[in-house]
């Protein structure tokens, strides 16, 4: 499709947990300045794949390439040091802590106070305000605990933090899953912004309505295998919905349900006590 070099690539990757095959022979390329949507139902292998990408798991078989070179990641810290940042569903934000403390947690700016080194709080607060304002989030009070902010705002903070600390690859694990329409829109906005900055964004979701507006490239996983790998031009939104919903499986399910509706209740063989209850009601 393209002669460009992928920023991140996995080749024929498999992951086994004992005798259970979680991921089987998966290959995928992720390009800078693109949003790759990783779609799939529960248990499709999405989380296993992102845990391999973010360095939590090591693949049982297959290669992991970053900027064209084979690498072996032993921990999320190593991935982070290379510029592969993952924003997990639990966000890695501490609810009781303020926005600025959260933003710089683990990478605190310091300033000398005589013989001692203290936290450069003024810099931290100012930077947080500026960085978030740049992302379109107005923080009136950087001292506000993160726990009192909306889900969309929290996701936005986690994403801005990854970008601020120089991520090249941004892996987002179901960032819109628990959000309302407006809040999800806010997060999608940040995904596009991150792409414009040239990051390779890997957006995990099971909602094709969230994937379609932002995706350049769609990978659909099912039962640990790649069901489809499409460029945006190769698909319509309806195709994506169908693929996601399980295509023919869904048609079959619908037929089954319709058939069920036509049958009288007695014929299905409801247990006696249920029939009694219905009769009494």
């Amino acid at each position: 499709m393209t002669t460009r070099q992928p920023l991140l690539e996995v080749r024929n990757v498999s992951k086994m947990f004992g005798s259970v095959i979680a991921l089987s022979n998966v290959s995928a390329q992720f390009y800078a300045g693109e949003v790759t949507c990783l779609l799939g139902d529960n248990g499709a292998g999405k989380s296993t794949l992102i845990k391999i990408l973010s360095g939590v798991y090591q693949p049982t078989e297959g290669d992991y390439l970053f900027e064209g070179k084979k690498v072996l990641l032993n921990s999320p810290r190593e991935a982070l040091a290379m510029g592969i940042a993952t924003v997990y569903q639990d966000l890695s934000l501490i609810p009781l802590m303020s926005v600025w403390r959260n933003f710089f947690l683990g990478a605190e700016p310091e300033k000398r106070f005589g013989p001692f080194k203290g936290y450069d709080i003024r810099f931290a607060k100012q930077t947080v305000r500026e960085v978030l304002a740049h992302m379109g989030i107005l923080i009136r009070d950087p001292d506000q605990p993160v726990g009192t902010m909306s889900g969309g705002e929290r996701q936005s903070i986690a994403i801005s933090r990854a970008i601020y600390f120089g991520a090249k690859v941004l892996i987002l694990d179901e960032p819109t899953a628990a959000l309302g329409v407006k809040q999800a829109g806010m997060v999608l906005h940040h995904i596009v912004r991150a792409k414009q900055r040239g990051l390779a964004v890997i957006f995990i979701t099971h909602n094709p309505n969230h994937a379609w507006p932002v995706g350049d490239h769609f990978i659909i996983l099912r039962r640990g295998r790649i069901l489809g790998d499409y460029r945006r031009e190769e698909l319509t939104q309806a195709d994506l919905m169908n693929l996601m919903a399980g295509g023919e499986d869904l048609v079959k399910l619908q037929q089954e349900l319709e058939a069920l509706l036509k049958q009288p209740l007695e014929a299905v063989g409801e247990p006696a006590h249920v029939q009694e209850a219905i009769g009494a009601g």
């Binding site: 802590m97 947690l105 009136r140």
Partner: protein, 363 residues
């Protein structure tokens, strides 16, 4: 969305400013402790104004508050870091007995004895912290075990060596005068004797508050107690932070242990038993959450002052001192309810503000 966000409705702007003022007052971690302290002070000022409002009264209150405050500060740091230590009270006894036995029975200079006591405290703190972080067991249980082991050893070893349950004659050891001067002596101010432990307490409160609020280690402590896993994901050495905090409470126990033996000139085997809960209560009144990740060193110090006031005030008022602990129970409950209320209130206001902001950006 970002373009619109800049042009927020002016009405919402004003609303937010008002909200900010109320919130900043309610959001003070120490607000509950401050209100409690004011209430207790007013109560005894009304009941026993003569003694209460004198310089002597202040000195009497600050005397127990100082040693308690030092412990409450260390315990507060540990609680913010998400852990408990029930061996803190008995640690004041253990360290005192170690220093006392080494100096009186082996004829050591008191200073090396004090130093060995410090090493033992650090060791016990390290063991507590390592056991809690390695096993993942609740620190409540692990340190309860430490508490019982030390409690037994304090009496057992003391009786074995001295055939009594106390170690006397510490004032006859070499180096005692200097140790008394360093750790706990009387200082005359306005003709009233203040304990020098008060200076230690204030210095430790300032230092601990600075570390907690103005260094990266403070952020790490809050993070370790707030969500240790999330903190580790971001590269915070949460385990080391927790072990260091257990060692800090042990060192605080050592310091107070030394203050006690130079003041009393003896060490008692039962020293400090039951005090561990008093420290936790002071920290809790001061705004520490029992679930970790939230609290204040200054609040814990105010909690210690409330204790000092209650202890002295009940005597001044001529009440039966048997009721001291009942009074503390009521104080604890009132303070926790108040803290809970203010925290919820602050969060509700914050959420309301977040809503106002969202609606403002859509207008």
């Amino acid at each position: 969305m970002p373009a619109k966000a800049v042009t927020a409705v002016p009405g919402a702007e004003e609303q937010l400013v008002q909200v900010g003022l109320v919130r900043s007052v309610f959001r003070r971690v120490e607000i509950g402790a401050l209100i409690g302290a004011a209430a207790v002070w007013l109560l005894f000022a009304a009941v026993a104004p003569g003694n209460w409002l004198s310089v002597t009264g202040v000195a009497r209150i600050l005397d127990p508050a100082s040693t308690l405050g030092i412990m409450a500060i260390a315990v507060a740091l540990l609680m913010i870091g998400g852990e408990f230590d029930l061996s803190t009270g008995v640690m004041t006894g253990t360290t005192g007995l170690v220093a006392g036995l080494l100096s009186t029975r082996l004829g050591w200079n008191l200073w090396p004895a004090i130093f060995v006591a410090l090493l033992i405290a650090l060791g016990i703190g390290y063991v507590n912290g390592t056991m809690v972080t390695r096993t993942g067991l609740p620190s409540f249980i692990v340190t309860l075990a430490t508490f019982f082991v030390l409690r037994g050893a304090n009496v057992g070893i003391t009786r074995l060596v001295t055939e009594q349950v106390y170690v006397g004659g510490i004032d006859k050891t070499q180096g005692f005068d200097l140790a008394r001067l360093v750790f706990n002596t009387g200082i005359n101010v306005f003709g009233v004797e203040f304990r020098s432990s008060i200076i230690w307490w204030v210095a430790i409160a300032i230092l601990a508050s600075w570390v907690l609020l103005r260094t990266k280690y403070g952020s790490w402590i809050f993070a370790a107690g707030g969500d240790a896993n999330a903190a580790r994901n971001l590269g915070v050495p949460a385990t080391r932070v927790k072990v260091a905090l257990f060692m800090t409470t042990a060192v605080a126990g050592w310091l107070v242990g030394m203050m006690n033996i130079v003041r009393l000139r003896s060490a008692v085997a039962s020293q400090g038993i039951g005090q561990e809960f008093v420290y936790i209560i002071a920290a809790t009144i001061g705004g520490c959450l029992l679930t970790g990740g939230y609290g204040s060193v200054i609040g814990a110090s105010i909690g210690a002052i409330i204790f000092g006031m209650a202890q002295v005030g009940i005597v001044f008022a001529g009440w039966d001192t048997d009721w001291f602990y009942s009074f503390l129970g009521v104080m604890l409950l009132a303070a926790v309810l108040l803290n809970n209320y203010t925290r919820k209130r602050a969060q509700e206001i914050s959420l309301a503000a977040a809503k106002a902001r969202t609606e403002g950006t859509e207008g």
